[in-house]
């Protein structure tokens, strides 16, 4: 067991608590970088998919996990990021400008949408964002001159300093691009959490009343959370567009929004690890199901809704038996070993709260 002796305030907010964890993450990144030489192109594509979902998960995690605002409309921001990035590139902008611009645009739009939305909380916010997600689908169809409506758009080839990057012809380059963006997003996320803004997010999540008593401007904090969350989601959306190659109004449906929310719950709300664990589950579940169907013998029989049905069941089991998600289970196992033999069962008991309504009648 490692004991941290904190001798200055700096130690509380360091990026890595000690050299050991720095080493672990360093090795992880090194393995990720050499992965294209270890895997064939199919699995590399799957890993790329996991990373893209993880970025999207980080975006929603900022809002739901850190600030406590459940959003069921993030597919709309994925779509906005995707369409704006591709449209910018069609205007002749290079990828290195179009991609951040798409993120910034999505973030700004997210903040504008947040201004009315922050008056809502809990259930009402969830419903407003559902409406947003449904509207996005129709708006893409209505804006046909720009978005090509139902016939959709095709992603162009990315060129960075003369190097061509395309999902199918050069999957390894595309993988490295996505990996670099994933690492940048993760570092940005981690650093925001260390900043006063990140602390304000956590304060708003835990109690709005006590946060405003501590001098946190609730509306401004929520708007900032919305903006940052949407910006990261927009970047993930652009990458999703490049990954899919072609997309239209149905690519970013409400099911994607719901999947995204469920993903971070399965992974573990409020942790960076959770976004990655959840992305692994979401990206590999279809492969796993088709493989297990082959194994059972009903290989060619297609069962519609099987994927979402199984996904729903996994989620119900997680909420009932492990509300902290995969990351929570991993923490429990790790702490059990670290404290052996002093770990007790009650260490992770959650405090239950009795409900009080805000309604008059």
């Amino acid at each position: 067991m490692r004991i941290h002796f904190k001798t200055s305030y700096e130690h509380d907010i360091r990026l890595f608590p000690d050299w050991w964890s720095f080493l672990v993450y360093g090795v992880l990144v090194a393995i990720a970088v050499v992965l294209p030489w270890l895997m064939d192109d199919f699995f590399l594509g799957e890993v790329t998919n996991v990373l893209i979902w993880a970025i999207a998960g980080l975006g929603l995690m900022m809002l739901t996990g850190q600030t406590g605002q459940a959003s069921l409309g993030h597919a709309a921001f994925l779509a906005l990021g995707c369409y704006s990035c591709i449209i910018f590139m069609e205007q002749g902008w290079p990828f290195l400008i179009a991609f951040p611009a798409a993120g910034i645009l999505t973030g700004v739009v997210g903040t504008i949408i947040a201004i009315p939305a922050i008056r809502l909380h809990g259930i009402y916010l969830a419903i407003a964002t559902i409406a947003l997600s449904i509207l996005a689908d129709d708006i893409i169809v209505l804006m046909e001159p720009i978005t090509n409506g139902v016939s959709g758009k095709f992603a162009p080839v990315i060129t960075i300093f003369g190097i061509e990057i395309e999902r199918w012809t050069t999957p390894d380059r595309f993988y490295w691009l996505v990996l670099a963006i994933t690492i940048l997003c993760t570092l940005a996320y981690r650093n925001i959490l260390r900043s006063p803004l990140g602390r304000a997010f956590a304060a708003v999540r835990d109690s709005e009343v006590s946060a405003s008593a501590m001098g946190v401007h609730i509306a401004r904090t929520k708007a900032a959370a919305f903006g940052i969350s949407c910006a990261i989601t927009g970047l993930a959306g652009a990458l999703m567009g490049f990954y899919a190659g072609a997309f239209n109004n149905e690519t970013f449906s409400i099911v994607i929004s719901i999947t995204l929310l469920m993903m971070i719950v399965i992974g573990g709300l409020g942790s960076i690890h959770g976004a990655f664990f959840g992305a692994v589950v979401v990206a590999f579940l279809p492969q796993f199901l088709s493989m297990s169907k082959d194994f059972v013998g009903g290989g060619s029989v297609a069962i519609p809704g099987l994927e979402t049905g199984v996904f729903g069941m996994i989620l119900i089991l997680f909420i009932l038996f492990e509300p902290m998600g995969i990351y929570g289970r991993w923490m429990k196992i790790r702490i059990w070993f670290e404290l052996f033999p002093f770990a007790r069962k009650d260490m992770f008991k959650r405090q239950k709260s009795y409900l009080k309504t805000e309604r008059l009648r």
């Binding site: 009315p116 407003a128 559902i130 809704g305 729903g312 909420i319 009795y354």
Partner: protein, 291 residues
């Protein structure tokens, strides 16, 4: 005449939305939870009735099958609370939201496996056809929907205002701990409200299936019912019905007078509009939280 015709068909659709919204509101009123699977409950109720009635499956007479369906769905609702939702007691609202969305997926999957994804029609005695009153075509099913919805809303409203159980349900939601101290079995009351909302969903499902074909994705209608519940203000039974009627009436008028593509946006645009300007619905029941 055209306006009246649109109004009547809008009202009939609106009543179905209102019935689903009633299910939301019942659960919200008594437990402060929101059941995102209510639309799928409605779909399940429709398919249970279809499975009992249609000659292709069980072939029971409709007037036996319908009460049986309501009973089955009520029991199912209670069991759902008993086995699943009771374990979430004391956890956040968001956990329940996500759980019920997942539940909706599972219900849709199960219904698809049992009754297949083909659209099917219920052999209902209500679907006897149309008759004309002064140039307006009325469907028997439409009239049945409107009558049943209004009666059901009235009785549920009275139930909450007058009966001991209804008051216990309201007390349980307003302050759980105080309700415990008053001797209200909060958990059992919650189970009952889930059963009741299952029964309401069954009624909505039977009426919806009488109006036309259903398939396992019919549960997505629940999202429109959400708009209805929000416009009416969560927690108000007459509000839910009112919201349902508003959404139902807007739809045919929008598709008649708006250009194509804009019409399906109308209910959601209205929903966002209401949320922005009256965040707690038209029939608000919320006060500002004080410390």
């Amino acid at each position: 005449m055209e306006v009246v015709q649109l109004l009547v068909s809008g009202l009939a659709n609106g009543c179905v939305y209102g019935l689903i919204a009633l299910g939301f509101v019942l659960i919200y009123k008594a437990t402060e939870q929101v059941n995102f699977a209510q639309g799928d409950f409605m779909m399940l109720g429709a398919f249970v009735c279809l499975g009992l009635t249609n000659a292709h499956y069980m072939g029971l007479p409709f007037w036996i099958a319908a009460p049986l369906t309501i009973a089955i769905m009520a029991v199912l609702g209670y069991l759902l609370d008993f086995f699943v939702l009771r374990h979430l007691f004391g956890q956040s609202q968001t956990a329940v939201v996500i759980l019920t969305i997942a539940l909706g997926f599972v219900i849709r999957f199960i219904a698809g496996v049992i009754w297949s994804h083909e659209p099917q029609t219920l052999e209902s005695p209500l679907a006897v056809g149309d008759f004309k009153v002064g140039g307006v075509v009325l469907g028997m099913a439409d009239i049945a929907v409107i009558v049943v919805t209004v009666l059901l809303t009235y009785f549920l409203y009275q139930f909450f205002q007058r009966t001991k159980l209804g008051l216990a349900m309201q007390a349980a939601s307003q302050n759980q701990m105080a309700a415990y101290f008053m001797g209200i079995p909060v958990k059992r009351v919650q189970g009952m409200i889930w059963g009741l909302s299952g029964a309401v969903a069954a009624v909505a499902g039977i009426l919806f299936a009488s109006k036309g074909a259903i398939d396992p994705n019919a549960g997505l209608l629940g999202i429109k019912a959400f708009a209805a519940a929000v416009i009416g203000g969560f927690g108000s039974l007459p509000g839910a019905l009112m919201g349902g009627l508003i959404v139902g009436v807007i739809e045919p008028f929008a598709s008649r007078y708006f250009p194509a593509g804009y019409s399906q946006i109308a209910p959601y645009a209205l929903l966002l509009f209401v949320l922005v300007f009256r965040p707690n619905g038209l029939f608000s029941q919320v006060r500002i939280k004080k410390v």
